[in-house]
Amino acid sequence: MEGPARPYTNFIPPYLKESVGKWKTHKVLEPGIIEHLDTSGNKIYTVRVASTPNGRYSTETMRKISAIARKYAGASMRFTGGINMEFVTKDLNDAISLKTEMEDLGFPIGGWDGHLWNMTSCAGYFHCALAATDAPSILQNLANNLGKYFNKEELPAKLTISSSGCPSSCGNSFLTDISISGIHTEIPIVTPEVSKCDLQGTAYTCPVGAIQLKQLPDGSRTLEIRANLCIGCGLCVGACGGIIFETPEKTDGHAISIGGKAVPSRVGTTLGRVVVPYLPNEPPYYKKTVAVVTRIIETWKKDARKGERIADWVDRIGWESFYEKTGLPFYGQSMEYLDVRGMMTLRDGGTR
């Protein structure tokens, strides 16, 4: 059999099998521990445990986690879409012992309801070739500062945070309540190496049509970037090694967006919106970035009604009030032209 190992029933805790598809209600007992009741009266407990900001573990630590799962959770554990860990115990005592052991190992239990549920980061400088900012180290700082919301201090509603090193948004940028997104702001240069790439294909990657094919005096062809159109998105740089950013250390940075969510309640599914278009990369502490995020969360915490996700809150008070309350400066880059609704399906093949 090719593909991932299956059927899934082989890998779940044995006591879970008979309840699958028969759940009745659940109760959040404390941040990170849910009691699930099925229609036959069986109960199990889900314990949610935080991961490292970018989900990287040493095998040393992972082996310990595996052992804990073996001890308390039916010799199985799962990863969540929020890159956390979940353990399912048959017994509440097991859940509590598991909590203690995971905490001793340095991994807090938390999430659900009005808490920080999860933080996700992409690879960034840590492993990726395309990063404009080091998403994991930014998220590490945010986690260090905001961890209290995972299981101690309460928030008006669910909170998720993400961090991605570039516009690819592998870390879930634009989907979470708060996102940090790496952004290039430099106009790339075309080197002679460009000739090794598919010129037409590379030109096509540009979202704003800023790349033109050009004939050189010797008859060979190259690409030209029109500086007045280029938005420095870096898509061409990713597509062809012959196009490079010269001084990323001076020009790369990151933007902050807020209000992404998937759940259809209240304002519905929304993508995050850019509230701070640019901050420089300042490791190790990224103090401005942490200060902005903290300010946003604290303002939301103070001002929102119970149950209001950040997107719902801003929808109610409006962006003008958001900026007034947070004290953040507003920049033109945050704007878009909204009435394009209705303009876009003009006809077949139209490219706009």
Partner: protein, 395 residues
């Protein structure tokens, strides 16, 4: 030969020392317990520049997808760091045995690090030297794992936990994913599409699986019409709480009827608010329906686009088959490296539906257009008036 430690490494170490602080689980502390080239990472922070590039190539029989070549641009500081992506079982449960195996392999072939879990919900084993990749993959497969989820193929299908743990589920998402791989594994393994295709599945409209947000093809379990009401539980409910539930229905579909309530099916958008707040007195409807979203993605050419509701189907088989039809047509129609959402953006929803041989329906439109700049052809000029006459009269 001992070389001098470069300045950026010294600076980098200082930065890493700071980064290692704090109570929260820490990836630098973890990395230091492995053979991962932390100095290279530290230097990149000091230089404020990514020090990896993509490149290199290794051909491994039976593994056309799953390998990411990572080349260091400072071999003097740290070595290449190729990555293999490992698919995990549906529902994301891994037994302790499996975890131990992965650790063993990561120690043997990699740098003793596990990326568990990626945002695309794979386990990655980083730091495998080029010359070991073949052997690694051979052993990986022998031990019951499969690599994948790179290239222009189906990326790892991801799902919410669904029926395994959740009472809201309308769809056993793990079972669905297992069947997906029974049927479509070839398209997951061999890169044949214009660009990557992500399929994500959620058991209910709450969408913990982000199927509406970041899937080229998103599948959401739902139901038709009004939710199921347990009138006896409702009649026992605190009146203020019930009022609140009624008031918080966004479409005003719920109204009181004596001590019970009634819900207008045509106004229910299956938003789950009442279900979530009623403690079991209101639950998802019995007649299931599956919502298929298309075109969600976060970059491509046009940046982040949420998925658009493409169609609603009545059976899981239909949903499963539709995935095949959609990628077939996507394969024919999209330009190279054009995500499905960008194709939809370029040609418009009407033309996309036409291509997909799907009749446009009101559910496809979150909002309607605000201009009359569209075309109507001769056949439509004949048909529309007739259909409208049939609907509302008026000769």
């Amino acid at each position: 030969m001992m070389s001098e430690v470069p300045e950026e490494v010294i600076q980098g170490r200082k930065i890493l020392n700071e980064l290692k602080k704090g109570d929260w689980p820490n990836f630098v502390r973890e990395a230091e317990k492995t053979r991962y080239p932390v100095d290279l990472y530290g230097a990149s922070l000091a230089l404020k520049r990514d020090l990896f590039t993509t490149g290199g190539y290794v051909s491994v029989p039976g593994a056309p997808t799953g390998i990411l070549m990572r080349v260091t641009s400072r071999p003097d500081i740290g070595e290449n760091a190729n990555i293999v992506r490992v698919l995990i079982p549906s529902g994301n449960f891994l037994t302790s045995d499996m975890l131990d195996t992965l650790c063993e392999l990561a120690d043997k072939y990699g740098v003793g690090m596990i990326h568990g879990i990626s945002t695309g919900e794979d386990v990655e084993i980083p730091g495998i030297p080029k010359e070991k990749i073949r052997d690694f993959i051979t052993e990986l497969r022998q031990r019951g794992f499969e690599c994948g989820s790179t290239g222009d193929a189906f990326r790892a299908v991801t799902t919410c936990v669904g029926s395994l743990l959740c009472e809201y589920s309308n769809l056993n998402t793990a079972e669905f994913r297992d069947s997906f791989y029974d049927k479509y594994n070839d398209f997951a393994k061999f890169p044949t599409f214009p660009h990557k295709v992500k399929v994500k599945v959620s058991g209910c409209p709450i969408d913990c699986g982000r199927a509406t947000q970041k899937a080229d093809i998103g599948i959401v379990g739902s139901w038709k019409g009004a939710p199921e009401v347990n009138q006896s539980l409702i009649s026992k409910m605190d009146s203020e709480k019930l009022d609140n539930i009624i008031r918080s229905c966004p479409t005003g579909a719920i109204s009181r009827h004596g001590s019970g309530i009634s819900i207008k099916g045509e106004d229910c958008t299956q938003c789950m608010i009442c279900v979530r707040n009623s403690g079991g007195a209101i639950s998802q409807g019995r007649e299931k329906q599956y919502l298929i979203y298309a075109g969600g993605k976060l970059r491509g050419k046009k940046g982040p686009l949420s998925g658009k509701l493409f169609t609603k189907v009545n059976s899981i088989e239909e949903a499963m088959n539709l995935i095949g039809t959609m990628v077939d047509i996507y394969g024919e129609q999209a330009a190279r490296k054009e995500r499905m959402g960008d194709l939809m953006f370029r040609i418009g929803m009407k033309n996309f539906l036409d291509l997909m041989k799907t009749k446009p329906q009101a559910h496809n439109a979150k909002d309607l257009r605000t201009n009359i700049f569209y075309s109507v052809n001769g056949e439509e000029r004949e048909r529309m008036p007739e259909e409208i006459k049939k609907a509302v009269g008026g000769e």
